[in-house]
């Protein structure tokens, strides 16, 4: 039995008249210790999928099983990094993380909790900003706080919804390594939502595309058989890497084109000609 299992998941928003089925027939199983990445176009339902797995949403039909038990609510075993950071604006960086850590480890005393907070703030290199409020931080800094908050709770499974989107390449690389580090240390399980194929290939064991919505389904999976720890520069010369990367991109481009050709409406363009086009030159 898989660690996390999604069986025939359908998710519909709204009722009757204006109901839209966002996800259709999603089947996914993740083994313990695996790192799975899901890539998809914007608006295809990635956040919806994440919320079904972490327990914030319930599927319209189908079941989500975590360690064999149906998911009915949130749990500390599944840590979440939200796409929109979701930091509490009235708390400082330190307080935001402290609040999470305190809930995760209710038996630890204040000093222990504070040292965990300090460690993780340091890990995302925000020690200088520990007493700042989210409003005073840049988007990337906020994202790092969100990463630190989720990881500091030491969840068994880490669910990440485009966690590194707003970061520059360098910080992004560092945080990717930190996440891999934490994932590998205690053999946790990870689900990463991303729109960056290279990020997926660098981090994951498997990449699964989510086809565009509505009625989004999962596409065929791509296995990444590259030994860990992976090295970004070396990987570029790896034939398997090149092949997988091309295959994924081709697949995504195909479904992208499909989506375009599916739209049957014809747009009649008005006949326009630039007024004094000639005189300008």
């Amino acid at each position: 039995m898989a660690y996390l299992e999604l069986n025939n998941i359908y998710k519909t928003y709204g009722k009757d008249g204006n109901a839209t089925e966002v996800l259709s027939n999603i089947n996914l199983s993740i083994e313990e210790g695996e790192f799975v990445a899901i890539v998809g176009f914007t608006g295809s339902g990635k956040t919806t999928l994440v919320n079904l797995i972490n327990g914030l949403l319930q599927p319209t039909s189908g079941e989500v099983l975590f360690k064999g038990e149906p998911v009915v609510g949130t749990s500390h075993e599944r840590g979440v990094i939200f796409q929109n950071y979701s930091l509490l604006p009235w708390l400082t960086v330190g307080q935001n993380i402290y609040m999470a850590v305190k809930e995760a480890f209710p038996k630890k005393n204040k000093a222990e909790l504070n040292s965990i907070v300090a460690d993780y703030v340091d890990m995302v290199s925000l020690s200088h900003a520990i007493n700042k409020r989210p409003k005073e931080l840049s988007g990337g800094m906020r994202q790092r706080v969100a990463v630190a908050r989720a990881l500091a709770m030491k969840p068994e499974m880490i669910i990440m919804d485009e966690p590194l989107g707003a970061l520059d390449a360098l910080t992004r690389g560092n945080l990717q390594d930190e996440i891999l580090n934490i994932w590998g240390k205690d053999k946790r399980t990870a689900l990463l939502i991303t729109n960056d194929v290279d990020e997926g290939i660098y981090m994951a064991d498997r990449i699964i595309p989510l086809r565009p919505g509505p009625n989004a389904t999962l596409g065929p999976e791509f296995k990444i058989d590259i030994d860990r720890p992976r090295d970004k520069t070396e990987m570029n010369d790896n034939p398997h890497f090149k092949k997988t990367r091309n295959a994924i991109i081709e697949y995504l481009m195909d479904i992208g084109n499909e989506r375009k050709s599916v739209s049957t409406t014809e747009y009649v363009l008005p006949e326009l000609s630039p007024k004094d086009f000639v005189n300008r030159f």
């Binding site: 949130t74 979701s86 604006p89 009235w90 409020r133 409003k135 005073e136």
Partner: protein, 368 residues
């Protein structure tokens, strides 16, 4: 240096940012931008104030002339030429008995203001003397188990102001104590919200006068056998009941419309109900609650005057009413003094609330 920075921030916060400009003018480092600011924030308001006083003065003079002519005319038709001449002379001499009763001029109002202050000093001296005189007697009475003799003389204008402020704050805190908890409870439960909504909608627009009468009916009976100051109790409860609605509605709204992201965080962290309310919902509703409290305080102050006037409890409202019925020569100008004082205090109270509101708001980066 640090101190002056915080001072600047505070003055800016309270809305007196022009003080900073004024300071840079005195210290000599004026720049063009500063000068423009100075012009806009100091000179222009001052000029408009002068203009206002000028217009007022002219208006008062015109009204005075209309009143005076009417008096002379009346004397002429009723008593003949001689009486009319006497009346004209009397008005010109400024004698009190024949002054026209109309809008007082700025200078008269200023004079009344000074009279009121002097009156206050006299009464204060009286009071001090009385306390000194009765000190030994009171000590004896107390040791005999009797009540002390207290000063029962007329309150001065300044005393009335403080009574009013006391009443308004008592009313405001009553409103806060009632409206915030109820608002939170209502905000948390959709069912409760829809079940009391009609009641709130009906009670909200009820006039202060009706609240006063209602409170009067109840408090009068309840305080029948006690010696407490029922006029004060009645007026502060009425003020509280009139003004609490804004806070109630805002609190309920703030609590019920917490950002879904924050609720999700609370769920993912698995906060308990208590923690969720105090660590997520209330902080996020705080700005709206304070907006409500600010409205509540200004409504309190506004209805207070009317309520004091009706409840005959001491304070600015009854001061105005007494002066109006008194009809003494300077009554009108005293009423206008009270008007300015009432407006000024109202403005100040609003500023205080605004400052507090800005301080607790996490949306801004003022960093105080």
């Amino acid at each position: 240096m640090k101190q002056s920075i915080t001072l600047n921030k505070i003055t800016k916060f309270v809305g007196f940012g022009f003080l900073g400009t004024l300071k840079s003018i005195f210290t000599g480092n004026i720049e063009k931008e500063d000068f423009k600011n100075f012009l806009r924030k100091v000179i222009v308001p001052l000029a408009s104030m002068l203009l206002f006083i000028g217009l007022w003065h002219m208006g008062a003079k015109t009204l005075f002339n209309i009143e005076a002519e009417y008096k002379i005319e009346k004397a002429l038709t009723e008593q003949g030429q001689e009486a009319a001449n006497a009346m004209e002379a009397c008005i010109a001499s400024g004698a009190i008995k024949c002054q026209p009763n109309t809008l007082p001029s700025p200078s008269q109002v200023w004079a009344s203001f000074q009279t009121l202050l002097e009156d206050h000093l006299v009464i204060r001296a009286d009071k001090a003397a009385f306390i000194e005189k009765t000190a030994s007697l009171n000590a004896k009475r107390l040791s005999d188990g009797k009540n002390a003799i207290t000063y029962t003389g007329r309150p001065s204008f300044v005393d009335q102001i403080f009574t009013s402020i006391k009443t308004v704050f008592a009313g405001f805190f009553l409103a806060l104590l009632i409206a915030v908890p109820i608002g939170v409870v209502i905000g948390l439960s959709k069912t409760l919200r829809s079940s009391v909504n009609w009641l709130i909608q009906i009670l909200k627009p009820v006039s202060p006068v009706v609240w006063l009468l209602l409170v009067f009916m109840i408090v009068k009976t309840l305080t029948k056998n006690s010696e407490s100051d029922s006029a004060f109790i009645i007026s502060f409860i009425s003020v509280g009941l009139c003004s609490m609605w804004a806070t109630l509605v805002n609190t309920a709204m703030g609590v019920s419309t917490v950002d879904k992201d924050y609720i999700n965080v609370a769920k993912v962290l698995k906060l308990g109900t208590f923690q969720k309310i105090f660590k997520v919902i209330l902080p996020s509703a705080l700005p709206l609650i304070f907006t409500g409290l600010r409205i509540t305080l200004s409504v309190s102050w506004m209805v207070l005057i009317a309520i004091e006037l009706l409840a005959q409890s001491p304070g600015l409202g009854s001061f105005v009413w007494e002066e109006f019925q008194n009809g003494a020569i300077d009554s009108n100008s005293k009423i206008i003094v009270a008007m300015f004082i009432i407006g000024g205090i109202g403005f100040l109270l609003d500023r205080i609330m605004l400052t507090v509101q800005n301080m607790i708001s996490f949306d801004k980066n003022d960093g105080i």
